[in-house]
């Protein structure tokens, strides 16, 4: 067996370009997913004691609707493969929009579809992480806050959010890494991310061992960077 390092060196520019795109999709997708997941996770438990619901006299009807919507989103996304979601968003969604609105010629760029897919997919999983983290907060702390007469928003911003965030960091880190690796699936909608770059180089020189080793190494570097960042944040916010 011969392992030709020169093959890897030659392919560095392509691999770097692919890595850059992978990183770009992952970071935007994850940040968007975090926002989406936080909203969905909070809606999923709206009106419950975990967010001071019964004490603030939430509208029970609105809370129930919000909960149902969040559950529908989470179950729909968790229950279908991300590959199918990507295909759906890239190929089927424009057709659906045209069919419903009558506007013709709608098309997502592959990159846009990829970012949307990561956002929506990661958002559903993060919603459950957020929900779990919020539910884990001691009810007594919520009551202590409310007994002072602070508003619901102050309660969420000053007490629930900081405590829940600390608890959510380890599972969120997990999801960040999964989402980053999931970007490799966008090879199927023709996004020039890292895996596709590897595939293309491989197709021209047939050096599977070198190329896939290099591709794996690039992913490892990126996931390590994510893991280290989270570790740093976790250390700075001492877990209580």
């Amino acid at each position: 067996m011969d392992f030709e390092f020169s093959v890897i060196i030659e392919s560095i520019p392509s691999l770097l370009a692919g890595s850059k795109l992978t990183w770009y999709i992952a970071i935007i997708g994850i940040l968007g997913g975090l926002v989406l997941g936080t909203v969905a996770g909070l809606l999923r438990i709206s009106g419950t004691h975990a967010v001071g619901g019964e004490f603030y006299g939430f509208s029970q009807v609105l809370s129930k609707i919000a909960q149902k919507l969040a559950v529908a989103y989470i179950e729909l996304i968790r229950g279908t493969p991300i590959l199918v979601q990507a295909m759906f968003i890239y190929f089927a969604l424009p057709m659906l929009i045209t069919g419903v609105t009558g506007i013709k010629g709608i098309r997502f760029e592959a990159l846009t579809a990829a970012i949307i897919t990561i956002m929506i997919n990661a958002g559903a999983y993060m919603a459950e992480i957020v929900r779990g983290a919020v539910l884990s907060i001691d009810k007594g702390l919520i009551e202590a806050g409310m007994a002072m007469g602070i508003s619901r928003l102050q309660l969420i911003a000053n007490i629930i959010a900081p405590l829940a965030f600390r608890r959510a960091i380890p599972p969120l880190g997990n999801q960040f890494i999964i989402s980053l690796k999931d970007t490799s699936l966008f090879i199927v909608i023709g996004v020039g991310e890292l895996t596709r770059q590897g595939q293309e180089i491989m197709a021209s020189n047939f050096r599977a061992l070198e190329i896939w080793s290099a591709v794996a190494f690039c992913y490892l570097i990126m996931t390590s960077a994510l893991a280290l960042t989270l570790k740093y944040i976790e250390k700075r916010m001492k877990i209580i």
Binding site: F55, G57, G140, E143, A144, M146, A147, M148, I150, I240
Partner: protein, 245 residues
Amino acid sequence: MNSIIEFKNVDKSYGDLQVLYDIDLTIEKNEVVVLIGPSGSGKSTLLRCINGLEMITGGELIVDKIKLPEQKQHIREIRKEVGMVFQQFNLFPHMSALDNVAFGPRKTRGLSKTESYEIAHDLLKKVGLGDRSDHFPAELSGGQQQRVAIARALAIKPKVMLFDEPTSALDPELIEEVVNVMIAVAKEGMTMVVVTHEMNFATKAGTRLLFMDEGRIAEDGDPVKLIKTPESDRLKSFLRHVVEE
């Protein structure tokens, strides 16, 4: 009229389970009301109704002129006038002692950072923890945590203070320091409603003792008299158990 809390035929149930029956109770300003009774008698529930942590299911409850349940959208106005101390302290674990105490004045009274810190410093000094202001709750003993919690509740300058078994989660040797702070608060004329088994507090600082049994107020009178010379068998046997502890 000097009453600040008024229960009128108040009922409270959780679904089919009724925990308070037809409570009629008027608490005047500067009263220090001590609530005792066996577990499950409804004393904590009665206390938690006052600041709306539980909503009454029958009758009317007037706290600082706000009527419940009629005006329950104004529940925050009640809470700003009613401080509460919990059995499990419930200090915010991500804030220092100082920040815990300064939080209320800043958020509910809209005071500046400097003003609220000044209040917090003074109150921590008052509860004997002036040198612990930078400590986090996890770095304090139970008794110290509870004293911070009392300072936190006082910080919003409430008209009434509620105490829900404030010493029940404490080691015996830490109870006294908390009781002493509570007595000091009472001596300053604060209106207090205290659920406790500390007869020491009841006789030293209480102006009125309520004995609750099965969701009703069974006895209502002078603390010293009721504790030293109880008349009903029910209260006698309850006090025997408490003293034996």
